[in-house]
């Protein structure tokens, strides 16, 4: 046991990992904010059938979904001017990538608002914009909260890809430690444990939300 696992080493790497965890959480939060806003915009444009824009967006959404996140990260990183921090690029790419999935969550959330709500809004002669803002979206967004939670967890677990564009998040911190000490088992195991410690309670929270909204 002690040959492959060294408790001292595990504790030694912990501060570095916690620093990395901060970056991981930061990237997830910023990424999800971008994904939530952009996802809604995507959903509305895809629904609206704006002549050229909708077709174009449909293509972009499919393209983003059909190519790996890792490739997108590296691709955008290589194209960006060096002044832009890698973390910013990472957040934006994560945000756009997940926006394409969040748009589907919004679409489902909007479709789940009963037709009677639209009809009541028409009967009251509410303008379309007011109907969206005051009636449909508040109900639709409520429907999307569990989906949003689930994608936040997915995104959180995909942040190690940021390693590829030299963002020092938790996984990179572990790699670095491993490269310096030639022992990878402890740091990587600790990374897994830390991911679990954040993901699992969050998933319980999302499940409770699902039950409450059902």
């Amino acid at each position: 046991m002690s040959d492959i696992w060294d408790w001292d080493r595990a504790w030694e790497v912990l501060p570095d990992l916690l620093e990395g965890l901060k970056i991981t959480v930061f990237a997830t939060v910023v990424g999800m904010v971008i994904a939530s806003i952009l996802g809604l915009v995507f959903a509305l444009v895809l629904r609206k059938h704006v002549p050229v824009l909708t077709k174009l967006l449909k293509f972009v959404v499919d393209f983003v979904r059909m190519t790996p996140l890792l490739v997108q990260l590296v691709f955008v990183y290589l194209l960006s001017p060096p002044e832009i921090p890698a973390l910013a690029i990472g957040c934006v790419v994560l945000g756009i990538h997940y926006a394409t999935y969040m748009s589907e969550v919004y679409r489902a959330g909007i479709d789940a608002v009963p037709p009677g709500q639209w009809e009541a809004a028409t009967a009251l002669n509410l303008p379309k914009s007011r109907t969206w803002r005051a009636v449909i979206l508040p109900q639709a967004i409520r429907n999307t909260l569990p989906g949003l939670g689930n994608y936040a967890i997915s995104m959180f677990k995909e942040t190690p890809f940021l390693f590829a564009i030299s963002v020092v998040e938790m996984f990179s911190a572990a790699q670095r430690f491993g490269a310096n000490t030639f022992s990878y088992i402890e740091p990587i195991t600790m990374v897994g444990v830390l991911f679990l410690l954040v993901s699992y309670p969050t998933s319980l929270l999302v499940r409770r939300m699902e039950i409450r909204l059902a």
Partner: protein, 262 residues
Amino acid sequence: MTSAPGDVPAIEFRDVVKRFGDNVVLDGLNFSVAQGDRVTLIGPSGSGKTTILRLLMTLEESNGGLILIDGDPYTHEYKGKKWVEIPEKRRRQVRRRVGMVFQQFNLFPNMTVLENIIEAPMHVLGRSRKDAIARAEELLEQVGMTEKRDFRTTELSGGQQQRVAIARALAMDPEILLLDEVTSALDPEIVADVLEVLRDIAKNTDITMLLVTHEMQFAREVSNRVLMFDHGRIIEEAPPEEIFTDPREERTREFLSAVVSN
């Protein structure tokens, strides 16, 4: 037609056609409703009654013919020797005169009772919040829901929700009120409360009312005209005391006895 010569009818249907796919629901329907009339539409399900209300609320598009409100074209107009659709902006102006209460209430669950009622007066009629609330409180009193003012609509029973929905429709001061089977989704013991509210409105206002209902006793009390529909056509038309006691048509007689025995 009960309207006096020279009077513009509140509602007029001219050769209105409505199809759902291959199913022709209304096949060139003609009828009109005078200002202040209370008209009940009866007939078997699928006979087109609800479709008429939905066309009047622009929840459905007609496939032909004309609908006029106070003589104003609502769906199409004749322009440059062609029938053209009325633009949404003008349609909104006409629709402002029409209100509707639904079978399933359709209150906004993300708002309180009060917010449901003041939403449209503020954002459609441009009333101030203060005025809208004052009017809403008056209406809540009228429908007996004052103490539920700040409740979420999901906390209310069906009958209570329907009374709020009636108040919400009235808050827009409609000239025409459409009532689409407003008691059908309610438990029998609360139907009476809702009917009482409607009776009150019928007695104390001059709103033109068009109702689809299976409450024949109620139809008899509030309406001055009953139209019997079958397969998208009016097969009999008479004052309630006549049609309910001595219908001319065999089809009407059959329908009424089937409804009563239910």
